[in-house]
Amino acid sequence: MSSLRVFFVGGYLAYRALFSWLRPSIYIPTMLGGPVFQILFFAYIGRFAGLRNDEFFVIGNAVQASALAGIFGTAMTIGGERWTQTLSPLLATPANRIALFLGRALPLIVNGVFVSAFGFAVGWALLDFQLAAGEIPGIALVVVVSSFACTALGLTTGAVGLRARDVFFLANLVTLLLLLFCGVNVPFDSLPGWMQTVARGLPLTHGIQAARELAEGVALSDVSGLVATEALIGACYAALALGLFRFFEAEGRRRATLETM
């Protein structure tokens, strides 16, 4: 019961605190404005370079938008605790660590899905992009799975934040690398071979590919392998994150570095 409370109530409070108690003046520019302009920016580069149609960029960037909340949000819930000097009291509590950290991830997964859906809607309103009603449930599922996988990677980044001093640097770097490697704006086949190999182990790559195929009218059952791979990658990162949390917490206590800024 106590773990459930930590999971839901703790996660909800951490999420509200992340956006300074959910002020629209912070949430709207950061979580909605930024991704929308990102979609427009890359769609226009795509037109200028004669690369692909708007649909390619709307799908890639709208799915990738879920990474912003997942990676930054989870990383910042750890970095923020250190910044406000509350990390040590938090880790001194007997709270179940899985409930503590996964509870913080859940609202960010939901948030990622919302941001992604907003990106799709704006792409539909402003660019040459349309989805048939029958394609929406499949793409929604892909977005949920991709948002989970990105948040799991964010948890791993946040876990490293228990040791590394500058978790924001790491979160920025991870987000940028996902944008480069995962075929968000460059067709996957056009990436150099070594980049494709790296990308296959990252969240988003399979999710974006699945979403693009669904938008072309392929049945959900035909992309189930891609969706399952995306989910598996997310599960692996979540397991890695929990292992790293345990390890770095023990190390932080032993070396007295939890409050190092």
Binding site: S20, I26, P29, Q38, G46, R47, F169, N185, S190
Partner: protein
């Protein structure tokens, strides 16, 4: 006059050093432009439009200069607030503008790392040739563009002071300015109603001057426009800063935080 120049130089040097060792600014001014340049190189290579990758390298470099200016100058006053030094900066004998101006120019100056890194990265990994049609114009355009962006930073710093969540506003303004100033996608594709805002923004003329100097053209007009806009930003920034400083003194809100 000499005192003011010394203050400007000392402040610029101090902030340049301070920003150079900041992890966030390393991301903004070096890593992020290199990653965006790589994405753009790959997109242009895979695309149907033949074009010079030097065009892309210069655009990506200018994107970094804008980001550094936006986050550095937009957050300049907020940072002074957080550090508890804003009241001292306002209270010292020189006018507040001479204290803030070196900081905003330093933020655009560290953007030079962006252009350098995208050019070197492109040359090393994407065979981008660094052959300039008008080398003299290129090296005139560069400092003028940096100075104009620094002065635009002064306008950002002075107006963002009214908005306590300056970082959120900076997050919002990064992509739109990249878009409307034609740093990577050409201006010709944008709707006509964006043209006036494009023309009023220094990055439009800065990147135009650099591209015409590098790839051929007449960069003189674009350089002149950068300089004129820079002066206009200085005047606007001066009045905004004076007005908001007066307002903040009257309401005693200088040290209040978000």
């Amino acid at each position: 006059m000499r005192r003011t120049l010394r203050l400007l130089y000392a402040g610029w040097k101090f902030h340049l050093k301070s920003l150079t060792i900041s992890g966030f600014f390393i991301i903004v001014s070096v890593i992020s432009p290199v990653i965006f340049a790589s994405i753009a190189y790959l997109m242009f290579r895979a695309g149907a439009r033949p074009g010079s990758l030097l065009f892309v390298a210069i655009g990506a470099g200018m994107m970094g200069i804008w980001s550094a200016t936006l986050f550095g100058s937009g957050g300049a006053i907020a940072w002074q607030r957080w550090q508890g030094t804003l009241e001292y900066c306002v209270a010292v004998p020189p006018a507040f503008i001479w204290v803030i101006l070196p900081l905003t120019i330093a933020t655009s100056t560290i953007g030079l790392y962006s252009l350098t890194s995208t050019l070197i990265w492109g040359w090393l990994f994407f065979d981008v040739p660094f052959e300039l049609v008008h080398p003299a114009w290129f090296f005139v355009s560069l400092p003028v563009a940096v100075l104009a962006l620094g002065l635009l930073g002064l306008v950002l710093a002075s107006t963002f002071v009214m908005y306590r969540q300056a970082n959120a506003l900076s997050n919002l303004l990064e992509y739109p300015i990249w878009l409307v100033t034609g740093l990577l996608p050409g201006l010709t594709l944008l709707p006509g109603w964006t043209r006036p805002s494009s023309r009023a923004l220094a990055p439009t003329w800065g990147v135009k001057a650099l591209r015409e100097a590098a790839l051929g053209g007449e960069p003189g007009f674009a350089v002149a426009m950068s300089a004129v806009l820079g002066l206009a930003y200085l005047v606007i920034g001066h009045y905004c800063l004076r007005y908001f400083e007066k307002l903040a003194r009257e309401k005693a809100t200088l040290s209040l935080q978000g």
